[in-house]
């Protein structure tokens, strides 16, 4: 019996030098969680927010009611997109380390989330991603070279040098612009979804935040608006266990899963194995169907692990065990899908190796092309006068005069 008030200071299960310890993660065997009808009432499906929906078993076979029965070609395509994402990340990380771009963020270990959800959504559905959803941009048609040019802030940069690397946008692909401020996109996605319903369209919206950002007010605005108006939206929490150096308990994930955050508002939550492409695809399709048929929002928690550093400015060896990812019980999403395809007889180590080499070559070729549009040190360079554009729809008189002044100053050099 506690006799005095006291603070609990949340502490992760392991710090540098400790044995990795994931005993805190509640796991369910693959295939053990029921798949309810999409019309089910939230109160009847609360089990989805505490269990863990998994399809791929330890032996890499697909099990249970959530198996989406994707055909082998679709799975090979999914594997390719995940591998391409990782190949891009690997190369760009290396390029940043060589000082050739200022900053980078990789999605190592979380590739299944973007690719599976990209596949499960329709092209008219609008995505409001976080900064670790580069797979979505790739899947929705942004070329490698354009991703790289953005990171280079060069003459082909979609952001014209205005944004930090990785803050992409794609109007054509229906993927929103990355802000840099966390969780702001979450309630924006709900507004987009509300507009879709107001206009009588059947497009839905989806958004992503990390476990850490669930603490932001914007997360709660999003849940409230989504619940109140039953907006057709999928709200995703990518729980990769770490928000820079603070573990998911610091955002309040220790007592109830993030998937349960919506239950008080009547939003169904699904806790899914985020490293299981089949499971993520299946729960996304379920939530999308539900939203499209007027069933309202779903909150999906993807249990995954941030396989790399937070960003190129981060050093995780200072705050977590070096071998923690290797010990993560849900493994590596790329490896798991690969093994599934092999077990099913639709893939081989040799094919995998060949594809990896080909993607690596594609990435290298794209990097060679990207540099033609300028690098940080060598031209061609962006015209700095463009910095005054797009502040307003039309350039105001005072910006026009500042632009002239800047050009005068530059011409004096």
């Amino acid at each position: 019996m506690i006799t005095k008030s006291r603070l609990q200071i949340p502490r992760p299960s392991a710090r540098p030098g400790d044995e990795p310890d994931f005993s805190y993660l509640d796991l369910s065997p693959a295939g053990s969680i029921d798949k309810p009808q999409i019309g089910a009432r939230t109160r009847d499906i609360e089990f989805l927010s505490s269990g863990l929906v998994r399809v791929l078993d330890e032996d890499f076979t697909a099990k249970g009611p959530w198996d989406p029965n994707l055909d082998p070609t679709q799975l090979q395509v999914a594997l390719r997109w995940m591998m391409l994402t990782r190949a891009l990340d690997d190369r760009m990380w290396q390029i940043q380390r060589q000082g050739r771009i200022s900053f980078y963020m990789q999605s190592r270990g979380e590739e299944a989330v973007s690719i599976a959800q990209g596949m499960a959504l329709r092209s008219g559905d609008m995505c409001f991603p976080s900064y670790r959803n580069q797979g979505l941009y790739l899947y929705r048609g942004v070329k490698l070279v354009d991703m790289m040019c953005q990171c280079l802030s060069n003459t082909r940069d979609m952001c014209k040098g205005r944004q930090l690397p990785i803050m992409y946008h794609s109007k054509a692909g229906n993927v929103f612009s990355i802000s840099g401020n966390l969780a702001t996109q979450f309630p924006q996605a709900v507004g987009w979804a509300m507009a879709s319903a107001i206009k009588g369209e059947d497009h839905i919206a989806a958004s992503w935040v990390g476990d850490g950002s669930t603490a932001e007010a914007d997360f709660h605005y999003a849940l409230t608006f989504a619940a109140v108006y039953q907006a057709p939206v999928i709200l995703n929490v990518v729980n990769n266990q770490w928000a820079i150096s603070t573990f998911q308990g610091t955002a309040g994930g220790q007592r109830r899963p993030f998937a349960a955050r919506g239950l008080g508002l009547g939003i169904p939550g699904i806790r899914v194995d985020g490293n299981d492409l089949l499971a993520v695809y299946a729960v996304t399709l379920w939530a999308a169907d539900r939203a499209r048929r007027g069933g309202g929002p779903t909150l999906i928690e993807h249990v995954t692990y941030r396989g790399g550093a937070h960003s190129t400015s981060d050093d995780p060896s200072k705050y977590r065990p070096k071998d923690e990812w290797e010990a993560f019980p849900l493994g590596d999403p790329v490896e798991r899908l690969k093994q599934h395809l092999i077990v099913e007889g639709h893939w081989s180590e040799a094919k995998h190796e060949k594809l990896a080499e080909q993607l690596k070559a594609d990435v290298h070729a794209a990097w060679r092309e990207a540099q033609k549009y300028g690098t940080m040190t060598e031209g061609p360079f962006l015209d700095p006068a463009t910095m005054f554009e797009d502040v307003y729809d039309e350039m105001s008189a005072h910006l026009e005069s500042q632009r002239r002044r800047m050009l005068e100053v530059l011409s004096e050099n």
């Binding site: 944004q163 929103f176 507009a195 797009d390 729809d393």
Partner: protein, 335 residues
């Protein structure tokens, strides 16, 4: 029309013309707004176009932003400007910069309406004038009308603008012009020329100031409620003042202001918001640069004291007739 009716009429005209215009905010729907600015709109346009929102200003602006990206033209009401701060990040980091950061691929034409200013016994949480906080942010336009005619015309321009606009409504003059003397009986807009408001569509362009009172000896640059106080102070002092109603704080119509100050050689800036670091400082800096060689005296400023707006001392705080008249004399006597 009074200003409330003019604002309501602007909504009505735009909702009728453009099916993408929708309204959301606290109490704006069934009830028609705590100041009645959206009264009757939900009955006329339905619950999908006039939406009662939860008490979550950040959520209101964020949802409006998302709706704007999806082809709607949202008008969001923040019930009091004092309550706008929870939405500050969504306005400053998101709404204002979306076009910029996506190089024009994405934008959201949101208008945020919010009643501001004191003189209604609102205390420190229902009286603020935070316009200067928003004029400092590139990517948004800031507007404050001083009369019903301008309110309707400017609001229609704001709704039609593809840029986000923060539209401040000085609530002390919703029902009638106010000369700064709370002891006098209230005056209605009925007898004021700017209370003549056409029923249909018209615009007052954003970025244009107006000469509210022509004069030759001193220019008073002001906006909102203080336009009327400045006119009263001009009459009381007998100084031949030219009162300029800024109307749009950003983008600023520098030419109208500077032309007047070059003509009179003297300038007094007045706003209800606190003085230090306020919008008046930007006006003063701009006008001294534009008009330095024509100025015959230092530019004066009259503003709210640099304290929160105190409930019991509202009229000691409010930059009323006495302070404006004293300000006029100060600038006239300075050499």
């Amino acid at each position: 029309m009074n200003m409330i009716e003019a604002i309501r009429s602007a909504h009505d005209v735009m909702m009728d013309r453009d099916p993408t215009v929708i309204v959301l905010g606290q109490d704006v729907g069934y009830f028609g707004g705590v100041f009645r600015c959206t009264d009757g709109l939900q009955r006329k346009y339905g619950e999908h176009r006039v939406i009662d929102a939860p008490i979550a200003e950040g959520g209101i602006v964020a949802a409006a932003l998302g709706m704007g990206v999806n082809g709607l033209r949202p008008v969001a009401e923040i019930q009091f400007a004092d309550y706008i701060y929870p939405s500050f990040d969504q306005i400053v980091s998101e709404l204002a910069r979306l076009r910029y950061r996506s190089c024009g691929e994405f934008f959201s034409p949101v208008t945020i309406r919010t009643p501001c200013g004191g003189g209604i016994r609102g205390g420190q949480t229902h009286s603020q004038s935070p316009e200067g906080i928003f004029t400092h942010v590139s990517g948004i336009k800031t507007v404050m009308p001083s009369n019903p005619y301008d309110a309707k015309g400017l609001l229609i321009s704001a709704i039609e603008s593809d840029d986000p606009v923060v539209f401040f409504e000085p609530k002390r003059i919703y029902n009638g012009p106010f000369d700064g003397d709370p002891e006098k009986p209230g005056v209605s807009w009925a007898s004021h020329p700017k209370g003549e408001v056409p029923e249909g569509y018209y615009t007052v362009p954003l970025g244009s100031a107006e000469i509210a009172l022509p004069g030759e000896e001193l220019t008073i640059v002001t906006y909102g409620t203080l336009v009327h106080v400045a006119i009263a102070a001009a009459r009381e002092t007998g100084v031949d003042c030219e009162v300029i109603d800024v109307r749009t704080m950003a983008p600023l119509d520098v030419k109208t202001l500077a032309d007047s100050v070059k003509k009179t050689g003297r300038c007094l800036i007045a706003h209800e918001a606190t003085r230090f670091g306020g919008y008046g400082a930007e006006l003063a800096a701009t006008l001294q640069k534009e008009c330095f060689y024509q100025l015959e005296a230092p530019i004066g400023r009259v503003a709210g004291w640099d304290t929160p707006y105190p409930h019991a001392f509202e009229w000691q705080y409010f930059p009323g007739l006495k302070r404006l008249s004293a300000g006029i004399h100060r600038v006239m006597e300075a050499e």
